[in-house]
């Protein structure tokens, strides 16, 4: 395999990381260094987002370090700090994506070939986790709609189904006996949600290729839905007639629905969704508690998709 900047971890960075990991036994709460150093990831060329539009909030960005060391990616462990420590085992090159179902051009495509025809652009989105914390992240990617159109969905395509890589050799979390999630991780969108201009496939953030723990090499970003909808490390995209079952829905259907739209009026059964902690906290005693907005602040753009639907029923 040809080596490129993307694969190389300079030895000194690697050694520092080892040293850090040894020092941090018992101190895993520390969020220093690790795989987070942006230098390891390749700089991307992209069109900057126009600030002030719905594509780029002007809110303060979450620092790269926090966005890349505080992750929910259960394939690499259950602690927020686990993915940053363990995701280096994920091999993102070569990477292929299966596109199947109700499309005229199904097949297994090399990621590089897929990406060739999509100019990259920046989107600065709020990310609201269902656990009531949030971040502001500058993604680099392209509209999912552009990709779907290229593969020519048929008229039968009503939903899009996504799947994360399932390989317990690369993803230690998938070997855990104690998880309630079934692998591979599955997600889905209704066709109109998938075709919405806010919905993107991201290949980078903060101007560089995605760190593994953030879902490299290809992930979904749907900013008006809870974070778990934005599936990471995608290997399969299927267009289908029926609504797919998603991982969290399968695990706890009374708590996680298919839609998972950010909604301060519909609480999670076990906690309130009225507020969120915008990370990072200003200090210990200033957790940055802010009110959660309907559709995560994207109501103007997406509310019409759910007209007439009882959102407390279709949560």
């Amino acid at each position: 395999m040809k080596e490129c900047a993307f694969d190389i971890t300079p030895e000194d960075v690697y050694l520092n990381r080892r040293k850090f990991m040894q020092a941090s036994v018992g101190a895993t709460l520390l969020s220093t260094g690790l795989a987070a150093s942006a230098g390891e990831n390749k700089a991307l060329r992209f069109k900057s987002a126009q600030s002030g539009s719905s594509f780029a909030t002007e809110e303060t960005l979450t620092p790269f370090r926090d966005a890349s060391t505080y992750n929910n990616f259960y394939e690499f462990g259950l602690d927020k700090s686990d993915p940053a420590k363990l995701a280096h085992t994920l091999k993102t090159k070569p990477w292929s994506v299966v596109i199947e179902g109700e499309v005229n051009r199904p097949g297994t495509y090399n990621l590089e070939d897929i990406l060739k025809s999509h100019p990259l652009e920046e989107r600065v989105y709020r990310l609201r986790c269902v656990e009531a914390w949030s971040m502001v992240i500058p993604w680099v990617g392209f509209p999912l709609a552009d990709l779907l159109k290229r593969f020519e969905p048929s008229s039968k395509a009503k939903y899009v189904y996504f799947e994360t890589l399932h390989d317990s050799k690369q993803m230690p979390g998938q070997r855990s006996f104690f998880t309630t999630l079934e692998w591979p991780y599955r997600e889905g969108l209704r066709m109109d949600e998938a075709m919405h201009p806010l919905t993107i496939l991201a290949v980078g953030m903060y101007g560089k290729t995605l760190p593994n723990q953030n879902g490299a090499p290809l992930r979904l970003v749907v900013p008006w839905k809870y974070g778990f909808k934005s599936i990471k490390s995608i290997v399969k995209i299927r267009l289908q007639k029926e609504r797919p079952k998603t991982s969290w829905e399968m695990s706890a259907p009374q708590e996680y629905g298919f839609y998972a739209n950010v909604n301060p009026n519909v609480d999670h059964p076990r906690w309130s969704q009225k507020f969120e902690r915008r990370l990072p906290a200003a200090s210990l005693f200033k957790p940055n508690r802010i009110e959660t907005q309907m559709f995560n602040g994207y109501a103007e753009q997406v509310a019409h998709l759910y007209k007439g639907m009882d959102l407390s029923k279709f949560y």
Binding site: S283, L284, R289
Partner: protein, 203 residues
Amino acid sequence: MKIDSQIRIVLFCLSACPLLFLSWLVIKGALGPDPAKTLALFTGEWTLIFLLVTLSTSSITRRSSRVVNLVPYRRQLGLWTFLYASLHVLVFDALYLGFDYSLFVSEFQERPYISVGGVAWFCLLLLALTSNRRSLARLGAVGWKKLHRLIYLAVVLAAIHVIWQIRADWLEAAAYSLVGALLLIERALPKTVVFWSKNDQPT
């Protein structure tokens, strides 16, 4: 110095370690981007550990025919449990709810795992308040013993509090509940069942 007081001091130092470690993280600002959550998890986990350790003191004493007598250290361990539990409650009230009383009331009413946790803390409060010799004298040995059976309720409620919060991982909840259940079952076993007796002599 008697060996007994030496053990007490060692116990005190050990029990303070999690708190010192936590303070060090706070001072260093190393709690990560979501310090409220880090603190809540940390104090919650240590509460569970101290609760089980406290509960195990009389079990070990009983089943070893008092060869290992841990009862003298039970009160200190119980008070540490209460301290970590109180920090846990404080973190929730202050950092999650921002001392917003109306939010506190609605959370308490609407979220059973929070009410259950709150009741468990209240049990621990009663135990802590009556942990001194004066209360023992006032309540009488029988009454005091009866009251202090509240720890069984606290253990069960804490288990429910944890089980109710399982999301993707059930290891911790299972481990806590299993040990807690074993310690409760032990109390129902006949007193003659021992793993160590004073009469055990090498033959």
